[in-house]
Symmetry: C2
Subunit: 342 residues, 2 copies
Amino acid sequence: MARAAGVSQTTVSLVLGGNKQGIVLQEATRERVLEAARSLGYVPDPAARSLATARNSLMGVFSFTATFPTDVQHSYYPLLVGVEQEAAAQGYDLVLFTGSSASGPEATTPEALDRVRLADGCLFLGRHIPSRELRRLVDDGYPAVHLGRRDELEGLAWVGADYVSASADVVRRLAEAGHRRIVLVREDDDAPASTDRERGFLEGLEAAGLPGGPAAVVRTAEPAAQITAERIRAWRAEGITAFVAEETDTGGAWRALLGAVGAAGLTAPEHLSLALLGSPPADLAAGPEPTGFDVPRTELGATAVRLLVSVMSGEDLKPPEPLVSCAFRAGTTAGPPPPAGG
Amino acid sequence: MARAAGVSQTTVSLVLGGNKQGIVLQEATRERVLEAARSLGYVPDPAARSLATARNSLMGVFSFTATFPTDVQHSYYPLLVGVEQEAAAQGYDLVLFTGSSASGPEATTPEALDRVRLADGCLFLGRHIPSRELRRLVDDGYPAVHLGRRDELEGLAWVGADYVSASADVVRRLAEAGHRRIVLVREDDDAPASTDRERGFLEGLEAAGLPGGPAAVVRTAEPAAQITAERIRAWRAEGITAFVAEETDTGGAWRALLGAVGAAGLTAPEHLSLALLGSPPADLAAGPEPTGFDVPRTELGATAVRLLVSVMSGEDLKPPEPLVSCAFRAGTTAGPPPPAGG
DNA sequence: CCTCTCAACTAATGCGCATTAGTTTCAGGG
DNA sequence: CCCTGAAACTAATGCGCATTAGTTGAGAGG
């Protein structure tokens, strides 16, 4: 290539590399190189380039499960939309590490995680990422950002949705609408996403001066079987007028609630109010819009990318707010409680 | 790293590189290297590796539009599911090239395409990929596979759905049900996917001995405005008893057909039969299941990966069949034609 | 006891580029 | 006519690895 243009390899590199050093070049020379490159179809080898510069404009995405789950209800997609958009904007290409999905979570080897070092930095999704390996990456100074709250790993940067505030806000609105007794139905899972919602729920009750405590939270491993029409009636008899369900992958709690309410011959918001702490599963999209909040997954993804970029740039400035706010969704399943004794 | 394990860099390379040369190594040495690598979290630099070997276990995915479109109706997702699964199975990680989505299709620079050279091979989606650049890649011997029929670029491997056969099959079944006059409604687009469907439709008519010709195909740029209730009535008066719509990103033709039929106060399959050459848009999933066929997108993605792997391995053996069959979907919108004069 | 042959490594080289030290050329100044 | 200095390049080096030539050490054979 250099010989073809009649100049040195250095000059070619300079011309094609953008000449950040501000070295003076004759316009004629520049043209000659450009012309030669064009006619030869020459393109600087990206591999060699990244070898020489120690960076390759690749941003990793690692998830314990398949990045593209077969289960369409999965919530990764909107995240990835944001990740891709922002990564593109920042000039990075994405590397999807498939190591974990190859042969099931159990078979994931520790080395699989090391492969992410291929990228300049990496985003991690899912709380099942092995702590040990992740810790080593972080300790080694490898730029990593976790999508979703992940406090137990000190030094690991993360971004998450502010479930606490959003949940509290839903409760506040229910209280303002006149509800005095509210129950949270949650599944038997201790993910941060669940814990945060419960915490926000309880904080919301307290802020509104409503009764909280264990009685306000129903935790069940099998919502469909345990949340029955009878139980709903009993709760109503106790004076409970609003029910809040947490959002999960399956939407189990919400489904159970809808089912039981329907089976009891009741409707929302006429007889009682229902709220969902998150977005409804895709297959329920056609039904009534649940009152609750939307997790800004796309924004979450974009925020994560920005955070990762800042980590990669070596800045130690911890971004002040890793929490992204969720927007309240009015929906149609909640309203004022029915007249007392109704 | 080498120093840490007390061996030479060569030995490390041998151990970690799989030792394809069959050089004899002491098990103890091997272990020592492995252990050192583990404790240091050392991973061979992929850039250097690919510089030296010209391969890096990375498979590219390049699409002209964003790989994760905001428009949920988009059909990339199922493709990617298949691509990810198969890539993982074959031991490749995926690189999503975002160059095209960064600033809109128009701003895509030719060099963006060259960046794919970073990967060992690349999958291309979307027919808007600049031919010139793609051609150069192919001519340079770069392993490329196009998802979707793409004949005009000689030497470019591709996999696509067999729309011709599937469409002909739908027509055959309609004919067998008793329909004698069938019309295809298609949009004004010359994508191979559209052309193939029309061809299959016409072949199907011919095979069934039914009247074909230009009159059997309605091509419209604005289906919603041009396919009206009156037009449906006029067609029925002419003796047409079945309507077939092509599937597109927007599902425009199908929507228009459904709308017009409804506006005319008709229902399928009672008054007439409707068929969709593909899958219905997501937002119509709740409605009646259209008779037609399903494009096996996931399988298509997996097939593309397998093809790419074979191309990368340097085998010249052209896989005999780049076409993946679409499965007929009975659906509920088609049946026998109504009694003559009904 | 010395050469020969394996076994088991190690030294050296190059991949294609970015980058940092030069090197050459030419115009003025003295 | 020599010296200085800027302009416009070029030579050399190293990134981290794979690979190809060695090199060393330990028996085996004579």
